[in-house]
Amino acid sequence: MVVPVVVGAVSLLFVVFYIVPGNPVDSLAGERAVNADTRRVVEAKFGLDKPWYVQYGKYWQRLSHGDLGRSYAQGRSVNTMLKEKAPNSIRLAVWALGIEVLIGIAAGVLSAVRRYSFLDTLTTVSTTMVVAVPVFVLGYLLQYMVGVYTFQHNYPTWARFPVSGVGGDHWHLFLIPAADTWKSVVLPAITLASVSTALVARMMRTTMLEVMRADYMRTAAAKGLSRTQVVFRHGLKNAMIPVVTLIGLDLANLIGSAVLTETVFSWPGMGTTIATAIGALDSPVVQGFTIVLVIAYVLINLLVDVSYAFFDPRIRYGAGSAD
């Protein structure tokens, strides 16, 4: 499953950029005309003068050594660019994923346990609404509320948030913010997490409601366990599988939203880099970054599959069929 998808994706990326009508040499030259000699020299430099199968072979050879190539537009190694941008994107993604998991699961469980309560209604309505708000509009709405309005009306400093950039470099262990750096990451993280959080909350609520009707929940309660223990030890653990699956599958959407979120908050991450590179027909950057993302996506979904065994001990891998 992992191998065919990665091979397919890598080849598809090659094909897309091979058939692109615009020539990278032209986009490199901008508006100016390119004379034939220069064109030949540049094409030879990037190996664009070879037939497609030679290019395809070289492409694989390069990738198998972990070399993502060299950017047409910037002349820099794509690996270096990746090392520069990936940490920012990972930090944003980890924060977003944290929000998604914590708030999504908490809201879902609470609204399932207290069905028809005010909290349940709030969860149901807000999760439906969030899905319909464009990511970029939500980002600007947040910026307006805590980045523009609070400044214009002289609110105290704690209510004022920066609306762009990654903030200072004061981080412990890369993820734990020091001083005011959390203010830079929290708005983009909320924006990025919004849709996924809503999906997780809805899924959590539905599966939790289903699990609560199960016989073993009644048995657990009859054994004299407290309600908290029943809900968390027996209910939550059993209801997690579909939710974990959703979180894994949703990563592709998260990457898409990251392009928009990073644009809105001028966050120097992988999403904006890819978007710019696509516009400039800078195929090595697009291919390199996208391949890394696709591999990450596939590997995380593999992890999700493995995690099923933790949530449901009846699922065992490599030990024949489950009973």
Partner: protein, 302 residues
Amino acid sequence: MTDLQPEPAPGPALLAAESTAPVSARGDVWRRFRRNRLAVIGLVVLTLLVLAAILAPLITFYDPAKLDPVLSRKPPSLKHWFGNDLLGRDLYTRVVYGSRVSLRVGIFSVVIALALGLTAGAAAGFYGRWIDSVLMRITDVFLAFPYILAAIAIITVLGRGEAAVIFVLGGLGWMSFARIFRSSILSIKETEYIEAARALGASNFRIIRRHLFPNAIQPVIVYATIFVGTAVLSEAALSFLGVGITEPKPAWGLMVAQGKSFLIGSPHMLFFPGAAIFVTVMAFVFVGDGLRDALDPRLRGG
């Protein structure tokens, strides 16, 4: 969405209706749909949207392309309900005309996605075997790609514009239709009523037309409704990023992109088109949810 309130006890009128002659399946669906308040609100909003798109010249008072530098970035007023944009164009007019662009993109892209998805899904579901495996692997590869990135890449190749957006959204959106249609065909193929029809001597064609298709298409219809909403959303995102609809067409995403630079002085430039996107997508999601609950009460969330 319907499970916000406990199921209302059927009133006497309802009981009477149920005890009379058999209700047609379609009437049944409509009756269940009508009981869902949010779905009805969604349907009303959608109707208003379609009317607004058709009657745009009658309900607006300016030319959507008329520039007026004096009115640049004017806040909402009685004469200009939503204010004016950077070039002094009336925003209310442009937002109303924008519904035409959004609905066109949504509807045409869903038609393309349906055509491709149903063909692939039907082929995979009916024939099975290697066609099934190949088609499903292809959908896996497509699904592993971040949608927005693939769309940006293809539009860079095709060139920007409405036709390209429609083509891309449809061309990248068919996978879910294929999967849904395939799995519902597979599950229905095994049901007893198909077996019964076959035992009664119905021809293959009759079975497909009378039993398989009408039942397998239901989840597809639900997803198609929601798809139109997400297509509107994606079109706005692409236009916002500069790889979608181009000026001077009044597209909501473009208006948001223009408004983003003036968030400090003129937030109305961003919020009105943003709200239009939100309301439209919301309406499609409500109607889709309502249809799902009405078509198959067993699937109700919770």
